[in-house]
Amino acid sequence: MWEQIRSNQVRSVILLGLIAAILLAVGYFIGLIFFESAIGGLIIALVIWAIMSLVAYFQGDSILLGMAGARKVGPSDAPRLYNVVEEMKIASGLEKMPNVYVIDDPALNAFATGRDPTKASVAITTGLLQKLNRDELQGVIGHEISHIKNRDVLLMAITSVMLGTIVILAWYASRVLIFGGIAGGNRRSSSSSGGGGGAQVIILIVGLVLMILAPIMAQFIYYAISRKREYLADASSALYTRYPEGLASALEKIGASTHQLKKANQATAPMYIANPLNKEGRKLSDLTSTHPPISERIKILRAMAGGVSFTDYNSAYSQVHGRGGVLSKAAMGAVGAVGMRQASPSAPGEMALSEKAARSREVSDMMLKMDKYRIVDCPCGAKWKVPPGYTEDSIYCTRCGRTIKL
């Protein structure tokens, strides 16, 4: 199965293995503490995991869509949305058209689900659908389709089921240990021979520490996998649409929105295009977030001047971060140099507005020029007005994160 996952990263699989190891360790210690044999605990852990996996595999997408309150739409209900999904399906080379769902919610978000590319769904909130123009919608849908195409949905489902199993096991085991542990421990130590007491205590302590730490560690790994896949999905969306600015400006709108999605929770968070649980004003630390910061994702997309291939995304990432890349070599090898396309013509209303803005901008630029300001163009499209008293030899573009030499 794994070789089918195009451009899947080795790191994601290693992290997945780590979560599995934590799950087994938890099972092992539960066995040692409660049954005095590791096998029993391992079996319990595996049975719970297997049951949850089966449910997730066969019912996962309908549970997820049900929880989100999504309703299915056809080509006649939402022609533009349906068409854009079909466009992205074609661009990505997906074999089958995914089901299209709409969530009645003013919040701005979208997600993808489905266990494999032939049985997938894309859902989007009505708020987002109203706010985006065609190019932006394409960017967002491209991001979601690439979650399906790259099999992120499956990977995240497997990971979240393991995480869930660890949380459940650790929760019950630690409660039993803390509240019933003293009594149970006394009974057991009195029944066993005196020599085993020391080892028993060590196992008990190690087990207790593990029960407390395991869910936290598993969660961190889960977040790390999720963040990686978000970058890959952004890069794929830019490649499919040939137009990274579409997704960038969609993300800008999503980031500026203050609505919170009503029906989202920890388990479903990684599948959304932006973290639905992110509270306004609260800066999430890097380790405990399912998504990279929106501002950073926008900067990377806008720093992709000239090309939209994975290689371009990777160099844009290292430019914004000042260090290494984010995508694997195997992922980048697929397509060589790929050019960008022009923006689609906008709807009548927007056109008039942008024309007005352009005119007033022109006038103000002229006034500034008369005041001896220097106008510097950034490759991302931004124009910087440098006052005459500025002495440094370069400026920092806040739109794409480049440093521009003067």
Binding site: N83, V84, I90, P345
Partner: protein, 188 residues
């Protein structure tokens, strides 16, 4: 048996496995290219089907633009007749059709009543999307052809490609310069 016989057998086995893998990989890529080509076809047919409807709708409001209607219809019929031709020839005719369509929609601009017509708006959305689908399927087709051609030409898979006579795929290029610059139809 001597140890070196085992080594020879092992090397031969690896070689055979590799040949099978490389051959299957090439077949897979070629099927993707074929499939992508069929996908372009589907979208181009959709465009042929939309055009008579569009012409009828616009005609109702803009009776005096006969030349434009005739051009579109002619370009459509020519493109449809050439639908069994190779990628190069088709690209040219489809490019001309795209241009003629662009002119028709430019004409529609001058008729505000037409632009308020629900039927026309629905057709417009369909046409925009079909144009996008054509260019996305072309994009995917060209990407697939690039992948196939790379495999056919690069070492070591080129050895297998030569042995089983794999042919290079043909890119779908749009030859009309104007079409390349403005592939999208403006409705504003």
């Amino acid at each position: 048996m001597a140890w070196w016989i085992w080594i020879i057998i092992a090397v031969a086995a690896i070689l055979v496995l590799w040949i099978i893998g490389a051959y299957n990989g090439l077949i897979g890529l070629r099927n993707i290219v074929k499939n992508a080509w069929a996908q372009i076809d589907v979208q181009l047919k959709r465009r042929y089907d939309l055009i008579p409807n569009l012409v009828e709708t616009v005609k109702g409001y803009a009776k005096h633009e006969r030349e434009v209607f005739e051009n579109v219809t002619k370009a459509r019929n020519m493109a449809q007749q050439a639908s069994s031709a190779g990628a190069g020839e088709r690209g040219k005719l489809e490019g001309e059709l795209g241009m003629a369509l662009g002119r028709l929609l430019a004409v529609a601009e001058a008729y505000p009543e037409l632009k308020a017509n629900q039927n026309f708006l629905a057709l417009q959305e369909e046409l925009t999307s079909t144009e996008n689908k054509i260019s996305f399927s072309r994009q995917f087709y060209n990407d697939s052809v690039l992948n196939l051609n790379n495999k056919i030409q690069m070492f070591p898979s080129n050895v297998i490609a030569g042995m089983f006579n794999f042919k290079l795929g043909e890119f779908f290029e749009v030859t009309v310069e104007a079409e390349r610059q403005a592939p999208k139809v403006s409705f504003s």
